[in-house]
């Protein structure tokens, strides 16, 4: 297709109506480590595999799941450094929201603002899109919520979702296993099973949010 001529410039549409750079960014995400999330009736869980390049790496220094506010957490698939930048920006936005409205930021608002940042980088000069997809899990007045944000800046609310390598297998597995009235413990169990489905898993990071805005980060 004539797309290849338009693949190097971010801010130029290809004849088929795509921004090819963003497609490439999604490919970068697709080759990142698997991460997934499940929304249960009374909480949300997000998890990812923590695969380190060598046994010599100090695993406590690698943080794949981060908290943005006491009741919102985020996991990614794709490029780690891009994730760090987004986490920093999101945390700052949450604080600015609080200072302006004296209300802890609702999950949807934070997702929207993060997505806006990601979109900015698809329409500016001299920058490239973020090479990460985020799964933002939060618990607020509207109950447990799970959102996926893509490099293009589009976001979707999911009941259960997976990203990264092996995503089709993981999603099929989730579709079979997911029920509407799942409890949080079931959700955690399902998450771990889904991750193990993929391949030999070394380390799993699990993050779950339950009512009363408590969040727990478990690593094993």
């Amino acid at each position: 297709m004539g797309d290849s001529q338009y693949s190097f410039s971010l801010t130029t549409f290809s004849p088929s109506g795509k921004l090819v750079q963003i497609e490439h960014a999604l490919t970068a995400v697709g080759s990142g480590q698997t991460s997934l999330g499940i929304k249960a009736a009374n909480g949300v869980v997000i998890a990812t595999e923590k695969k380190l390049p060598s046994i010599l790496v100090d695993e406590t220094s690698v943080q794949k799941i981060q908290t943005l506010t006491p009741n919102i957490g985020v996991v990614y698939s794709g490029m780690g450094p891009d994730f760090r930048v987004l986490v920093r920006k999101s945390r700052k936005q949450a604080q600015q929201y609080y200072r302006l409205y004296k209300e802890t930021i609702p999950v949807t608002q934070l997702v929207r603002e993060t997505a806006a940042v990601m979109q900015e980088f698809t329409q500016s000069g001299g920058v490239r899109p973020f090479g990460v997809s985020l799964l933002i899990a939060g618990y607020d007045d509207n109950g447990p919520q799970l959102y996926q944000v893509d490099p293009s800046g589009s976001y979707f609310s999911w009941k259960a979702s997976a990203m990264g390598k092996n995503v089709s297998n993981a999603k099929t597995f989730l579709e079979k296993r997911y029920t509407e009235d799942m409890e949080l413990d079931d959700a955690i169990h399902t998450t771990i099973l889904t991750l193990k489905e993929g391949y030999l898993v070394f380390l799993i990071c699990c993050f779950c949010l339950i009512p009363l805005f408590q969040s727990n980060l478990i690593e094993f």
Partner: protein, 324 residues
């Protein structure tokens, strides 16, 4: 401020009387003896007493206001002696370090000039789970500055993954205040417990700070400081600390016009913070009339009656109830 020092030859008797006048007025305000010369007022008192041995007058036995010198003051004012002005920070805020941590205290009166704007405001602000800050000065400035630094500390906690330190809060506050060159009128008592131990600091509107075992700020600071200076000792227990802080705030409440209403206390120890809002209510508000203010007919004397008939301006036509 060497006002007294330079004018020693002026008239020692007159000086003695002015000095005694300051000592008499409870919660006296030092002339321009603000942050910059905080250690000297106490020393000055001692110097003054030695000078004033000459024209000694009998002091009243127990506190209270003596009107003996009012005529003398009026005469001096006529001669052109400038009376000291009032400091605008209407507050008493205190802090002290006890054996397990820090205790902060504040009164709850917010003033707008001579009017009490808020009888029960909160002057102890949250900075971090282990750090609280009392604020004197312009209420908006103290609120805004503490909110801003609290937000910055939260971001810092996320980035580092650690508990915030008191010196971090201190540095953020002082750099902000310094950059505004004293226009942000916030005088703060910052206290907290972190990994390095308990800390207590005072921050002045221009951006200077002090680190102290006990501190007072605001217009009632002298009243409160007198209580601290006489009763503070190292290694106080929690109950002693709270009692001493309450006593100091009460001294400010009762002796300073700019402070009043209730006592708020905050106790911070390693791993635990207790915010005792309205720990003491020494000024209960009693509403005399629970029936309200209704006036029965006949209580107001009718002097004259004039009835004016209004011309009918509107024709009321019959229509449906909800017809527009």
């Amino acid at each position: 401020m060497d006002f007294f020092g330079d004018e020693e030859e002026y008239n020692t008797n007159v000086l003695a009387i002015i000095q005694r006048n300051h000592e008499l007025v409870p919660g006296a305000l030092c002339p321009a003896a603000s942050a910059t010369s905080s250690p000297s007022p106490r020393r000055r008192h001692r110097r003054r007493r030695s000078i004033s041995m000459a024209g000694a007058m009998d002091l009243p036995a127990k506190g209270g206001f003596s009107f003996d010198l009012c005529r003398r003051n009026a005469m001096l004012a006529e001669k052109g002696l400038k009376m000291p002005g009032f400091r605008k920070t209407g507050t008493t805020i205190v802090g002290l370090v006890f054996q397990d941590g820090v205790v902060l205290g504040a009164d709850t009166r917010a003033t707008e000039g001579p009017i009490v704007a808020d009888k029960n405001c909160e002057k102890i602000h949250y900075m971090a789970p282990n750090i609280y800050c009392c604020g004197a000065g312009t209420a908006a400035d103290t609120e805004a500055v503490t909110d801003m630094v609290s937000s910055q500390l939260q971001l810092h906690r996320y980035a580092t993954g650690r508990e915030s330190r008191v010196v971090t809060a201190l540095t953020l506050l002082k750099s902000h205040l310094f950059s505004y060159q004293g226009h942000v009128s916030a005088a703060l008592v910052l206290g907290g417990v972190d990994v390095t131990g308990p800390h207590l600091h005072t921050v002045y509107p221009h951006g200077s700070t002090d680190t102290l075992p006990f501190a007072t700020m605001g217009s009632g600071s002298l009243a409160a400081m007198s209580v601290f200076e006489s009763k503070y000792k190292e290694g106080l227990t929690r109950e002693e600390g709270i009692q001493l802080v309450s006593d100091a705030i009460c001294a400010g409440i009762f002796n300073d016009l700019g402070s009043g209403s209730n006592v708020d206390v905050c106790v911070i120890t390693k791993g635990k913070t207790e915010y005792l809002r309205n720990h003491q209510l020494p000024n209960p508000r009693t509403y005399v009339s629970s029936k309200g203010y209704s006036f029965t007919k006949g209580q107001t004397e009718v002097l004259s009656t004039k009835i004016t008939q209004l011309e009918p301006k509107v024709e009321v036509a019959e229509g449906d109830a909800m017809e527009e």
